[in-house]
């Protein structure tokens, strides 16, 4: 066997915190061969990014290599003289980060930045470097690369920016490409294109990849092998598809089980959750680091730390009691009962429109939400989902049409609504970092909502706050903390408690879990479903994660450029026939098969809305008529309707549901 491109040999890396050195990566060994893609997965704080930085010897100043050695192309990284280290980093290894905008210089054109790499590292003269840059952009499958090369970073989309960054990374023809969550900041459709690009690069060149992600589906699509990291240790390693299909370590199993599976509905099985958080490196448990959270822990797990042991071909597991097949322990709890939501509509939107300047952000939206149902809104970013939520909440006023609650028109601004109406419609926001006032304590944040929305004071108020914190499963001492001391999941729970302070009838959930780790997401989704089962609130659930939507929603609406294009019961929308745009979304889900992916195309912005059907420019089935006349709503069956000129029975009946390869044996 030839020399691996990257090899970690018993590597321990520590960070200094208050004069103590605490290990973030512990005794980590793995190797990546030429042309191999290695995925590294784990919750936040498990040492993934530290390992990625160490692979280039880019550790921050308060970190140090404690023990072990890292070989890059057979050379000990920590023994290299600075000049050689620089050359190695520049020419043999490249790194792509999560945020493409931060990696590009805003004052240089995209082409100039790619060309600079060719000039600097490959010694090309100006003209041939420019040509090479355009050539490279073309290989990134950028349409019209010569034009894009002349644009500045802010003039191109996020996906295009990330492609330019990847073009720069590949310009030196590196032997190793380190990718730290390269698609996390991107829309699902753009993410799908970038992932295809990686898959193609793997076929056409022998670049090795170290791929860091918390998204298991993405890793499964790209990687040959996968390493699962917990508390800085490798707990399982092996063939990516096999590890994810049949995890042997309880932690891997728990991670895989946290994601909703196709066909799993809230009425059926609850999402598996993983309580707690990874241990702080300051107080690692004595035995197995995962034992305190492990559903199948035994008494002796706390006694001695287990070693990484072979378990089958190419498989390593750090657990003395590896699972065989799916873990029976990780499907806890009775499932929430499914609610039929047929009654008078609770909320209805008629001909709703919202514009900013002359641009239609929302256009002629008609929809109804019934008591107790979960109505999901999906679409790419820029489709108007959040604006719709803000209009319903009373944070933005509609310009045409209106919103009614129980048939009574709602004022455009929350302040002009009645106290009862404000209590009835509340919202949970997307960003855990800013959803709570950082300078107030949890008790005061929730207490204010209890007083204003619930009308309780004094002792009653304190009791209600305690009750709400209990409802969202937060320990009582949290009440006296400020938000800065809480984790993202805990903050989102406080925000949920705040929204439920006055017994709401409709709660708007704007991507409530998109900023959370998968394990925390599952716990928050379960909580929301429990609260709904107890209190009967309806949810307007906004998400770009189709797997989550399919699990929680009763009905789904698909939005494109501020208009609804498809509405129906969840199972019908996912089963098809699909609106051509819905088909694009479904195929773009990271679990879907690349072969099913329809033509690509950049979403038009709302300011450049085409005439006729807004989607016709990206639609593979577009007719002449679609370019001039707006399409009609056509019902299919069971309350499912599609807004398209093509008859439903001639639309593609169904792709495989998202994440088809997930269905292997485990469910």
């Amino acid at each position: 066997m030839s020399v691996p491109v990257l090899q970690f040999d018993s590597v321990t890396i520590s960070y200094r915190r208050r004069a103590r050195w605490l290990p973030a990566v512990r005794d980590l060994s793995f190797a990546i061969a030429a042309g191999e893609a290695y995925g590294m997965v784990g919750e936040s704080g498990c040492g993934k990014s530290t390992a990625a930085l160490a692979a280039m010897r880019f550790l921050p100043r308060n970190a140090r290599l404690e023990d072990g050695r890292i070989d890059l192309l057979g050379r000990d990284l920590w023994a290299l003289p600075p000049a050689e280290l620089r050359r190695l980093r520049g020419e043999r290894v490249s790194m792509v980060y999560q945020n493409p905008a931060g990696a590009l210089n805003p004052s240089l054109t995209v082409g100039a930045q790619v060309a600079e790499v060719f000039r600097h590292h490959r010694g090309l003269d100006r003209r041939s470097a420019d040509e090479a840059a355009v050539d490279m952009l073309a290989r990134m499958r950028i349409a019209d690369p010569a034009r894009v090369a002349g644009l500045y970073p802010f003039q191109v989309s996020g996906g295009m920016q990330q492609r330019a960054v990847i073009a720069m990374a590949l310009a030196t023809e590196p032997d190793l490409l380190v990718l730290d969550e390269p698609t996390t900041a991107l829309d699902a459709t753009v993410q799908a294109e970038i992932l295809d690009l990686f898959a193609e690069l793997r076929r056409t060149r022998s670049t090795a990849l170290l791929f860091i992600s918390h998204n298991l589906d993405v890793v499964r699509r790209i990687c040959d092998r996968i390493g699962i990291l917990y508390a800085g240790e490798l707990v399982e390693e092996g063939d990516a598809a096999r590890v994810l299909a049949r995890p042997r370590h309880p932690y891997s199993a728990a991670l895989a089980a946290c994601l909703p599976r196709p066909g799993q509905r809230k009425g059926g099985r609850r999402l598996a959750t993983l309580s707690g958080t990874p241990p702080d490196p300051a107080d690692l448990p004595g035995g197995c680091a995962f034992a305190p959270r492990c559903p199948s822990a035994r008494p002796d797990c706390n006694a001695a730390a287990p070693a990484l042991a072979p378990a089958g071909p190419g498989r390593l597991v750090r657990c003395p009691y590896p699972l065989d097949g799916p873990d029976p322990h990780v499907s806890p709890g009775p499932a929430a009962a499914e609610r039929p939501g047929r009654s008078e509509p609770l909320l209805s939107l008629r001909g709703l429109g919202h514009r900013i300047g002359k641009v239609d952000i929302l256009r002629r939206i008609d929809m109804e939400i019934h008591s107790g149902e979960t109505f999901a809104l999906v679409g790419e970013s820029g489709s108007g989902k959040t604006t719709l939520a803000r209009v319903v909440a009373g944070l933005a006023a509609p310009d045409t049409g209106g919103v009614t609650l129980d048939g009574v028109p709602l004022a455009g601004h929350a302040r002009r609504r009645t106290a009862d109406q404000r209590r009835a419609v509340q919202m949970v926001f997307q960003t855990p970092d800013t959803t709570l006032n950082p300078s107030r304590r949890v008790a005061s944040i929730v207490g204010r909502a209890v007083r204003v929305l619930g009308g309780r004071r004094g002792r009653e108020r304190r009791e209600r706050v305690a009750e709400l914190l209990g409802m969202v499963r937060l320990p009582a001492p949290v009440a006296s903390s400020r938000p800065g001391r809480l984790s993202g999941g805990q903050r989102q729970r406080v925000a949920i408690a705040r929204a439920f302070a006055g017994t709401p009838r409709l709660v708007i959930l704007d991507e409530p879990t998109s900023a959370l780790d998968a394990s925390v997401q599952a716990a928050v989704l379960n909580l929301l479903l429990d609260l709904q089962a107890e209190g009967g609130a309806a949810y307007l659930f906004i998400s770009h994660d189709l797997g989550v939507v399919r699990y929680v929603a009763d009905r789904v609406a698909v939005m494109y450029l501020g208009e609804l294009v498809e509405v129906g019961p969840t199972e019908r929308v996912f089963a098809g026939p699909h609106h051509p745009y819905t088909a694009v979304l479904l195929a773009a889900a990271p679990g879907a098969d690349a072969a099913l992916r329809p033509v690509e195309g950049k979403a038009a912005g709302p300011s450049e809305r085409p005439a006729g059907c807004a989607f016709h420019g990206r639609c593979p089935h577009a007719l002449d008529r679609c370019t001039v006349e707006e399409p009609p709503w056509r019902p299919t069956a069971g309350g499912h309707a599609i807004r398209c000129w093509i008859a439903p029975d001639r639309l593609a009946p169904a792709h495989e549901p998202p994440r088809p390869r997930r269905a292997d044996g485990a469910s």
């Binding site: 009373g394 929350a414 509340q426 919202m427 926001f429 800013t434 959803t435 944040i445 705040r498």
Partner: protein, 272 residues
Amino acid sequence: MPTPRDLARRNGTLVAGLVLVGLWIATALAAPWIAPHPPDRIDLLAVLQPPSAGHWFGTDQLGRDVLSRVLHGGATVLAIAPAATLLGLALGTAVGLAAACAGRRADEAVMRVLDAVMAFPVVVLAMLVLAFLGAGTGNVILIVALVFAPLVARTVRAAALAEVRKEYVQAARLRGEGIFYVMTMEILPNVRGPLAVEGTVRLGYAVFTSATLGFLGLGVQPPSPDWGLMVSENQGLLTTAPWTILFPALAIALVVAGLGLAADGIKEILDP
């Protein structure tokens, strides 16, 4: 939270600044007891004496002891500066918060008015106020506060605008909270950092501005011992008796420097 001792160890700038300012405050308070002579005792037999054992800082053209006047002169400046700064901070914070919370059109209007006020030279503004209200300590405070308020308002508005867009403010609006509640209970606590830095920086400028007003004869009236006034009274003697100007000027400089150091130290704590 770091203890005060931790801060002292890590933040030498802050400690140096606070010690310097503290010394001057102590001096001003203790002046009646530690000054060797009464500050306004005229001694026509000992005019314009250079520094000596009897008069460490020399005497001015009326034979008054410069050291005693410098020691006493701190009191006016050190009372005017914090009072003016507090008033300026209060006015500026109210305007800045209101501008940030009130909506785009009101915000534009307020900011243009502030630009106009800031375009006014300090001295012209001072003349204007004095023409209407007369000279005196209270009016110096008012002038300095009026000069500072627009600057504070800008800082507060910028910090508040960043907060107004955050989701916790939207949550408050969803509850139907009034603008006054949002301003004072939600946003104000989160602009404390920039406000504290602005306050210490302004304090230094307040010493400077009130000394300038004293120098121009717009503030405290003679024969009160005031540093700015002392520099002004003796400006003709710069070449013949420089000590009459040097020591009050040095006093102003040291207080401003101390406040500047303290401001830097606080900034370091708030955003390291």
